[in-house]
């Protein structure tokens, strides 16, 4: 039979589209033609596949071979079609039974020696294959644990083209063939045993180490419980970065669906740890302040890659020295902050990446970043801030108003004395204790929000908030006063109400009262610790 058909998956962002690979062998000058909008890496597949087939001790058909990838209008990128094309060619050359190939889906790159090399984005690709109704996928052995995370699919992992061909020739899908193994999708135990104990154990990192900043610890707890955004303001050395890095230690583990979503994004970005691929802990992403817009929200030429905002999906995005970030980078975050996803448009395709993260901003109060100018002694005066008021104002103005309007909790760190450090030591709780409270508060919120698609207080849309989740009567008085004074915007009011729900959840109060709303308003306006 001069025609054979296999399947693969083309990824656009983290969205997979089934692609049909057809190989046709006819009379003509010896050539391999590849049609169907391939990019450079895919065009190079011609040379890789030929070498791989010849080095797997198979004959290269001495004819004119046409390989078509359809839908032809969908741009196809990368090297993950290699195996599918090679198998289709061998099927058309009657080396393999063509009929048995048509229902299989192949993902992976070929080495010149015939080895199957791992590729990025296997998890979303296999998930798309399962959604499209494929029962069996073939992946390189190194990608097998990742592919097997998808429930209800059979994964055949092979280490070389030779062993794969042995399996395909045999016709019977058994894991007897050397170098090939069958994995049952969804059978792997998730990393560390599921969403059991709260709080990710990051070695050498505990919230209790942040002594002398009780208000900041409390703010971190509230943000963790409700998924609220946090601005940390203060001179260097008071623990801003320390606090941000310790926030993930009080977050609960990801639920299964969220973990798969996070793992899919990291799979496309190529940042998965080898071995245990499922990310069950909330990710923490801290891009440097020289990062470009594409690095933060996603993009790049050719393959569209997720940015830091998406890599922090269901976790924390920490921008240290936030005013040093370029302004358009910061403002590009406004879309994901509002909608929870990033839409990147490139030539001929649009990629959507989920990006629902907890934003952590850290900033010095001024460019010189010395302590506040409230100096009394002459020694303190020498180390006090020398910036002019205009410079201080300009520095923080780099964080645009619309961005700060979306930050729920603003904490100002004040330098701590020795006495405060010592006395606070006995009050500082370890992460595990705080994480328990956070988990309880999250459970209360999830119970209240059952039947909706939101899980956290921060995710409730404004209209729904006013309709179904209004605080106790009279509790809004402090907000009305702040609004009259022009201290808070209408969006700010919504954010304070969400925050007050989290404060109430943490205190096990059924509905926010005037106390919770006042406390939340204080956090929104900026509390000094």
């Amino acid at each position: 039979m001069p025609l054979a058909r296999t399947h693969s998956i083309a990824l656009v962002g983290i969205q997979g589209h089934p692609v049909e690979i057809e190989a046709d062998i006819e009379n003509g000058l010896v050539a391999l033609l590849l049609v169907g909008l391939p990019d450079t890496a895919l065009r190079e597949a011609r040379d890789r596949i030929r070498a791989a087939i010849v080095n797997s001790k198979e004959a290269w058909p001495q004819r004119r071979i046409t390989v078509g990838l359809s839908p032809a209008s969908l741009p196809k990128r990368g090297s993950s079609f290699d195996i599918g094309i090679a198998v289709a060619i061998l099927g058309a050359a009657d080396v393999l039974p063509a009929a048995s190939l048509a229902d299989l889906l192949f993902i992976g790159e070929l080495g010149l020696d015939g080895r199957l090399r791992p590729v990025r984005g296997v998890l979303p690709a296999v998930a798309a294959a399962a959604a499209a109704g494929f029962g069996t996928v073939v992946v390189p052995a190194d990608n097998a644990p990742e592919a097997a995370l998808v429930p209800g699919i059979r994964v055949l992992a092979a280490d070389s083209l030779g062993s794969l061909l042995g399996w395909l020739r045999g016709g019977c899908p058994a894991d007897g063939a050397a170098g090939a193994a069958v994995w049952q999708g969804g059978s792997l135990p998730p990393d560390g045993g599921g969403p059991g104990p709260a709080g990710a154990e990051v070695p050498g990192c505990d919230l209790a180490e942040l002594v002398g900043q009780p208000t900041a610890r409390r703010a971190a707890e509230i943000c963790a419980a409700g998924g609220h955004h946090l601005l940390l303001l203060g001179p260097p050395g008071v623990g801003k970065t320390m606090l941000a890095e310790r926030l993930p230690t009080v977050l609960p583990r990801l639920e299964a669906a969220a973990a798969l979503e996070v793992t899919a994004i990291h799979s496309v970005a190529g940042t998965l740890p080898p071995g245990g691929p499922l990310l069950s802990r909330p990710p923490f992403c801290a891009p440097h302040h020289t990062a470009t817009k594409a690095a933060i929200v996603g993009g790049g030429s050719g393959i569209i890659r997720p940015g830091a905002a998406s890599l922090a999906h269901h976790g924390c995005l920490f921008l240290d020295e936030a005013p040093e970030f370029s302004r358009d980078v910061l403002d590009a975050l406004r879309q994901p902050l509002e909608s929870g996803e990033v839409v990147v448009a490139r030539l001929g395709q649009t990629a959507r990446f989920p990006a629902r993260f907890t934003l952590l901003l850290a900033a010095n109060p001024c460019p010189c970043a010395r302590s506040a100018p409230a100096a009394v002694s002459s020694a303190a005066a020498r180390s006090a801030c020398t910036c002019r008021p205009a410079a201080r104002r300009r520095y923080l103005a780099r964080l645009s108003g619309p961005l700060l309007d979306r930050v729920d909790v603003k904490v100002e760190f004040l330098p701590v004395g020795r006495a405060e450090l010592l006395s606070d030591r006995q009050f500082a709780e370890p992460s595990s204790v705080v994480a328990k409270r956070v988990e309880l508060a999250r459970q209360r919120a999830a119970f209240r929000l059952r039947g909706t698609r939101w899980r956290l207080n921060a995710e409730i849309p404004g209209s729904e908030l006013r309709r179904s989740y209004a605080p106790a009567p009279g509790a809004l008085a402090p907000l009305e006063r702040a609004m009259d004074l022009g201290e808070i915007s209408a969006r700010g009011v919504d954010r304070v109400i969400r925050l007050s729900w989290t404060v109430a959840d943490l205190a096990n109060v059924a509905r926010p009262t005037i106390a919770e709303v006042s406390y939340a308003l204080g956090l929104w306006l900026g509390a000094a610790s």
Binding site: N27, G28, L29, V30, Q62, R63, R64
Partner: protein, 118 residues
């Protein structure tokens, strides 16, 4: 004669025998003109078949069939027209065939015939 020319002659002889067995009439062999040479000119029903024979003693430098490039095929097409003009005959169709002859280590030859390469 060089060893490679002996091999080439052997290959052409095998190819001609192969064509005759396949039912083609051989009209001409090693026809030359200013533009080049046609190895075998044959006829199959109402089609003129211009045949290029490539003989190799191994695949270290690629298979015989791979050695036929697009340029070579285009030249064969021009040569076919020249042959028709020179002989003043008419055919319904002109076809270019390629015959790859490979000599194995053992000395056995394999002949591969590809019809209508363009």
């Amino acid at each position: 004669m060089n060893a490679k020319d002996v091999l080439g002659k052997q290959g052409e002889q095998l190819a001609a025998e192969h064509l005759q067995r396949a039912g083609l009439r051989i009209l001409d062999r090693n026809w030359r003109c200013a533009e080049g040479e046609i190895d075998i000119v044959a006829a199959e029903r109402r089609a003129l078949v211009v045949c290029e024979v490539k003989t190799r003693s191994g695949v270290r430098y690629g298979t015989p069939l791979e050695a036929i490039t697009r340029q070579k095929r285009n030249r064969l097409r021009r040569l076919a027209v020249r042959w028709l003009v020179a002989h003043g005959v008419l055919f319904d169709e002109i076809r270019i065939d390629v015959i790859g002859v490979l000599r194995a280590e053992s000395g056995d030859f394999t002949v591969e015939h590809v019809r209508g390469v363009g």
